[in-house]
């Protein structure tokens, strides 16, 4: 079966950039990469001589490690540029930063930034492919792909699955990317949050179902995904207290009863145990939270491999 790799040199800004078929072919490549991560000797010579730059303008130890490990396993050289958010307004402009890095011969950029749309700028300034590692509240396509892969691996398909995502929908880039991808693969998604944490026009934009009540949102769900609830939303006046939030929205033995018996439990991490999810659920047999992390490395290997293949 010959297949033309049309990922070469392409940017991954969000899952909207890829067709259903393309997403599936990323999932298949991820499967092959996953095998490598299970070996004793976890290294491939594939991308020798390629240089990948991680450009992180926002702290994220996990995502950065996952990307760097992925690039390292494929033998690419990895350089990292980190800058604090405060330097965005005072320091060197993004344009100058990218011009400088580009002069050093970067083949692929991986960027995390608090401002939506910044990956597009990095591509504009560098002319090199860019993988979005999270831009503000806009998109986090590699996280969505690893979430989708984790479900796909367990269930073989997303077609017809009912997926419930619970938590701070308004501030979540993970949800936005997941909604695009899951919808493309045929799942039906319900998002659930207090009204103050639900963006407007969700149904119109994503074709999902909006529910403010946890129990009805979880009804018959095949997959349940919890999201991190941050304390600062309380001081922003979006909900009265974590205690009250937990009462209404925590994933517990009690609440997940409404979902299917074998529903998968997911969380993009880092978790607030006891707030959005109880340990009895996070550590249960149904939970695939740890596997998600492992799959993250494989997904990122697949994307780096597919994007860099072809251009020497």
């Amino acid at each position: 079966m010959k297949n033309t790799n049309n990922f070469v040199g392409r940017n991954l800004y969000d899952l909207a950039d890829f067709s259903k078929e393309e997403i599936i072919s990323i999932l298949k490549t991820t499967q092959a990469m996953k095998e490598i991560n299970l070996r004793d000797y976890k290294k491939l010579p594939t991308l020798r001589g390629k240089t990948v730059c991680t450009l992180f303008f926002e702290n994220s130890t996990r995502t950065k490690m996952s990307f760097e490990l992925a690039a390292n396993r494929l033998s690419a050289d990895v350089v990292s540029f980190s800058a604090s958010t405060s330097s965005l307004t005072k320091g060197e402009s993004l344009q100058d930063t990218v011009y400088t890095l580009n002069a050093m011969g970067i083949d692929l950029y991986i960027i995390r930034h608090s401002c939506p749309g910044t990956p597009q700028l990095v591509n504009k300034y560098s002319g090199k492919p860019v993988l979005n590692a999270g831009d503000g509240r806009h998109a986090h396509p590699t996280q969505a792909l690893l979430d989708i892969f984790s479900i796909w691996e367990k269930r073989g398909t997303l077609e017809g699955l009912k997926i419930a995502i619970v938590g701070d929908i308004a501030h979540s880039r993970v949800v936005r990317s997941n909604l695009i991808g899951m919808k493309k693969l045929g799942a039906s998604v319900t998002v659930c949050a207090p009204k103050t944490l639900m963006p407007s026009k969700m149904e119109e934009v994503y074709g999902c179902t909006v529910d403010y009540d946890l129990k009805s949102a979880l009804k018959d769900a095949d997959v349940i995904m919890g999201l991190r609830m941050q304390l600062e939303r309380q001081s922003e006046g979006l909900f009265p207290s974590l205690e009250e939030y937990t009462k209404r929205y925590v994933l517990s033995k009690e609440t997940i009863k409404f979902a299917k018996k074998d529903a998968l439990i997911m969380h993009p991490g880092p978790m607030n145990r006891g707030i959005e999810i109880l340990p009895e659920i996070a550590d249960s047999n149904q939970s695939i939270i740890i596997e998600q992390v492992a799959n993250g490395v494989a997904v990122r290997m697949a994307l780096i491999y597919l994007t860099l293949g072809g251009k020497i």
């Binding site: 993004l94 608090s114 939506p116 749309g117 910044t118 831009d135 503000g136 509240r137 407007s200 934009v205």
Partner: protein, 422 residues
């Protein structure tokens, strides 16, 4: 030497007539059929339309203090190219125009070096901080035409009421930039479909409407002339329509971009679509056009807001709000409102010349014998295409960059002097 404009279609009392115009120094001496050449400088309008020079109530010339973006010379040159003969400068410069010295500086520089007349709008409150009333009476002595904290909005209703009361004793309009800060928050684009999709903070229409509703009530109470800058939502226009019906002294303006563009343009994170108030929905845009037609909206103002390339060329969230307006205003409105059959050319001229001129109570905005010769000749069949190379503004931050528009200003006269020739 006197100038004789021949072969033009002259806009006179709401109609186009084939007449000649004789200009003597600053003034229109005679309008007539077939004026005989008596050693005049003849300007052949070649059958093109001769309009009263455009008047802009809302612009940012950035001078003094931010001349990296624009200055009075480059700003008025750009204005002349766009067919404007009088523009009003908003006070949010550095320093803020809250004192007579800065008023005088702008007026003098414009008079000596400018390519169009510049009227000054003074700050309503000192440093536009919304705390203490600025020296409005003194600035009026130096010729300001309105007061405003544009770019800022007085949040405290009591301070606003007092400022409006104070201003009402001079019959000077108070221009409000309607924005409730808590509702607007750190919003970037219209709150709605696209703010959800792009993960950008939303500025709800409510942030604008709530201040408009408040200020209408304050205007009723203070008997002040209230003018609302850049209306952008259907609801805001409804509020003003109702207030006008009730006889409140309120007027408002709309920008070309709120008449022509909508929030979906923000989808590619182009910072030249980042304006305040934000581009709204198609429903809002249609309401703006309807408001213009039914007279709720009194005139069009550009909100010319130049920003240097390097300020706009960056992350969307970190780029400043505002776009360039002078050089694209007429062509964009003619192409996308008149040629599309939404409004007549006559209405466009009313809203760009006559109505704003009346608002500042200057004897301009119409072509009449004895008036100053502020004239704009346009070729409606010819096109313009703004590029970073041919723009006269120091800043090139326009969503119309590299787009071709119909309706070209080919010549502009300000006080009888040619200030632009294509």
């Amino acid at each position: 030497m006197k100038k004789l404009i021949k072969n033009g279609k002259i806009y006179l009392d709401g109609k186009f007539e084939n007449k000649d115009i004789l200009i003597n120094d600053e003034k229109i001496e005679q309008i007539g059929s077939d004026i005989q050449n008596d050693n005049f400088e003849v300007i052949d309008a070649k059958g093109n339309f001769v309009l009263p020079g455009f008047v802009d109530l809302h612009s940012h010339l950035r001078d003094p203090g931010q001349t990296n973006k624009e200055d009075i010379v480059s700003g008025t040159k750009a204005a002349a190219k766009g067919g404007f003969t009088t523009i009003c400068a908003m006070p949010n410069t550095e320093p803020i125009v809250d004192n007579v010295a800065t008023v005088e500086y702008i007026k003098r520089k414009a008079k000596d070096l400018g390519y169009s007349k510049v009227e000054v709008i003074g700050a309503l409150t000192k440093k536009s901080e919304g705390k203490e009333i600025s020296e409005i009476a003194s600035m009026i002595e130096y010729g300001i035409v309105a007061v405003s904290d544009d770019g800022h909005c007085v949040q405290n209703a009591k301070i606003k009421l007092n400022a409006m009361k104070y201003a009402s004793s001079f019959d000077i309009p108070v221009i409000v930039h309607p924005e409730e800060y808590n509702l607007a928050g750190s919003g970037q684009i219209n709150a709605g479909k696209y703010s959800t999709k792009l993960g950008l903070g939303g500025i709800p229409g409510l942030a604008e409407e709530i201040i408009i509703a408040r200020d209408i009530m304050l205007a009723e109470s203070s008997k002040c002339r209230l003018h609302i800058a850049h209306v952008s939502t259907a609801k805001a226009i409804d509020l003003i329509r109702e207030a006008k019906k009730k006889g409140v002294s309120v007027t408002c303006e709309v920008t070309p971009h709120h008449l022509l563009l909508t929030e979906d343009l923000c989808e590619n994170f182009d910072t030249n679509t980042k304006v305040k108030p934000p581009l709204r929905t198609e429903k809002d845009r249609k309401a703006c056009i309807a408001g213009l037609i039914d007279g709720t909206i009194d005139f069009i103002a550009t909100d010319h807001a130049p920003h240097a390339d390097y300020e706009k060329e960056r992350e969307f969230v970190l780029a400043p709000f505002g776009i360039n307006g002078f050089e694209s205003a007429f062509a964009s409105l003619y192409s996308e409102l008149v040629l599309t059959g939404n409004i007549s050319l006559e209405l466009l001229i009313e809203k760009m010349s006559t109505a704003p001129a009346k608002f500042i109570k200057k004897n301009i905005g119409e072509i009449k014998e004895g008036r100053v010769a502020d004239l704009t000749i346009v070729n409606l069949d010819d096109t313009i295409c703004l590029t970073s190379g041919n723009m006269l503004s120091k800043s090139k931050n326009t969503p119309y960059l590299n787009k071709t528009l119909k309706g070209k200003v080919i010549q502009t006269f300000c006080n009888g002097r040619e200030t632009w020739k294509a």
